[in-house]
Symmetry: none
Subunit: 232 residues, 4 copies
DNA sequence: CATGAATGAGAGTTCATTCAT
DNA sequence: GATGAATGAACTCTCATTCAT
């Protein structure tokens, strides 16, 4: 990404590794794991095929690196975005938009990560879980703070909240992509995210102490109106 | 499925086709698309490799048939289950359990359907969309009835409701499988589905403190004022 | 080798297997195991590369087949040749010429068998030992008969006799080949074999000044005494 | 071999060359020519891969150096051992034991030398022959002295004697190794060598002065017996 | 002199698909 | 219709050798 000519040996090595990961990222995204050709990755990284094997043990390890890098960046940008916001609702809305946009452009990588890891060795598989755990930790933190502030119901296990939140976003994303919609109508996307988040918020916020709920206010108002009418 | 010895030529042909699809289903589920071996499918269907190509143009077409059959059965069982229930909430809960259980055992097929179709020709891809559309039609019908009976909010596009419902279930399913949980603790699964449905139901019914909420509050405030005035 | 056009399927399969083994034999002989190219073997057998893998699991298995076939024929021709001769010395001379000539033309295969098997799995390795054991059984039989007829000394373990016999022949063979002598001066070769066999025969028959020599001397002394007595 | 820290440049270079040869020796012995990895040799010699190419043109040249060094040492130790013995028989027995023991531990190198050189260029190949010629010169000298002293028959070409001597030993050695016998039962090995040498000695010593030969005694005895019978 | 990262040709093996029987 | 032997393109990965530093 740096456009400066790398000078030291260490820098050259790092630049190469990055170039290979970037090329692999592209090719995996376009063709999937089995469909990706090492030769193509090498070509795009402007590197000999053999060189790839100096940096990565094999194709699987390369995927691992791609996924790892992806999640690292995803986690970093999520954390950064959340940082500036204090309102739970606002934080969730940011995470939702952030996740949605990332998914739309990198859906294939996420899918690959999941689909491929399952048939991999236990060890590698646990690597993926780790990436994911670190990423959702950002979300978990927001939720737990919301619970502490009594904004969010405490009687739902956090993993179910994750299911609702991420599930809704990813399903929406998948539908988008399957229909071949260009993932570029950001306004439309934002509207969708907003609606999904509205429902999610309804699902996870406290429901017991309804006094302030409009529905209740409405009911009370109706009773008062009825009384007023009778008195009149 | 029929255990009677097929007699007519027509029956023999159909039995063979079914056997091939069943075998392919198994093998695709176990090894994925690229990982599946035509030879293995032929072996399990007790058929020569060449015979498969009499029934299906190629591996892709075979996957298409497998996915089609799968969705047909899924749709049929969903419809059947919904039929006996009149309560919207109950219907949704049935659909949720039904979807969750199907996903847990056939996740690979669903994933394959999505992942593989994307890199297929437009035509084949549209085939998958059709399968899916038919399946979710059952859900859509339930939702629309709920809206007509004013049980479900009408101000949310139905596709967002689908995202929330199916997304939550499938994300939950994925997590289950990734962690290697045996998908057999039905009680635990049922509890999860129940919690998810509780949230979803809140999301699609509860009238929230939405942007428009303030407008409502103002209206109510005005009405309360009017009542106070009258009482005075 | 059969020049008749094979008619049945069974015959075609066998002809192909033979052709592959023959081609592999040639190529292994010319280039060694690592140096042999499957593509070249396929070309010479007039078969597609993939076809070879229908007949043999892998390159190793192909070598195994080549060596097995080679030893089978070697054993058969050795047996046949020995069969018509009754004199032990003549039988050994036949076996010597037979072994020498076979070695000269197939040295590489023998070498390969030994050298390659050592780094193979235990199982395969034992396969080679079996081939060899069957082959030297012909020799062992001749030796044992010679011992029974008291032509050959019984006080030397048979394996040492084998070492002397086969060792001398093979070392001679190796020297021939290393010097690049064409292995075609049969008269010269025959003379060498004859000289070697003369020495070997001395080694395994001549009753030396060895420990056991005294026993024989004693016997002869006793017989001489008896004769003297009779003459007297 | 010198454990003193090399001081001069010349010494450092020689120490390196030795280290590389020693490492290559090990690796060739363990994995054969094709199986040996330059990287592994470099690692064991504590030298960079590229450095090896400063000392040796390529892998073949490295093998050549290894074989050359091996034969040099082999020849030196053979000469040294023979030197202290005056009896031909004793000298041969020493050479036999010496060769057997060397073969058992360095069989792979000997095999490699032979097998690899054949497919090398004429020039390199002649190099191997030279090594070997120098080595067997020790043996040849002993034999010729034996001939001069009329202990050994003069009517057999010396190369045939070599075939018998070295052939028997190496074949024995090969059998040992193929059966996976540990080459460490020195007593057993010594016994085998003794038996082989006994036969070899019988084969190469003069046969003309048979008076004392048992076979002749036997013949004479038979004649006497026959005469006695007739007289009777 | 020494390094070791980079190269890239080349190998064995697999498997969807075909077609003569 | 059914078979299954045959095909051969295509892939991943290795490793001797080079050369800029």
């Amino acid at each position: 990404m740096s456009n400066a000519e790398p000078r030291t040996r260490r820098e050259r090595v790092e630049a190469r590794e990055e170039a290979i990961i970037a090329a692999a990222h592209e090719v995996f995204r376009e063709h999937g794991f089995d469909g990706a050709r090492i030769a193509e990755i090498a070509r795009r990284a402007a590197v000999a095929e053999g060189t790839i094997y100096l940096y990565f043990k094999n194709k699987e390890a390369l995927l691992h690196a791609v996924v790892g890098t992806f999640y690292e960046r995803l986690t970093a940008s999520a954390e950064e975005g959340v940082h500036g916001l204090s309102d739970t609702r606002k934080q969730l809305e940011f995470l939702a938009r952030h996740h949605m946009i990332s998914c739309l452009s990198e859906w294939r990588i996420i899918e690959l990560a999941m689909a491929t890891y399952r048939q991999m060795s236990e060890y590698e598989s646990s690597g993926y879980l780790q990436f994911n755990k670190t990423y959702v930790a950002v979300f978990d933190h927001v939720i737990r703070e919301g619970m502490n502030r009594s904004e969010i119901r405490k009687d739902i296990p956090i993993w179910n909240i994750r299911d609702l939140f991420y599930g809704a976003l990813e399903y929406s994303c998948r539908t988008y992509l399957l229909r071949g919609h260009a993932a570029d109508d950001l306004v439309e996307i934002a509207r969708n995210v907003q609606r999904l988040m509205h429902m999610v918020w309804q699902g996870i916020t406290r429901v017991g102490d309804k006094p302030t709920g409009h529905a209740d206010l409405e009911a009370i108002t109706r009773r008062l109106e009825a009384v007023a009418t009778r008195l009149e």
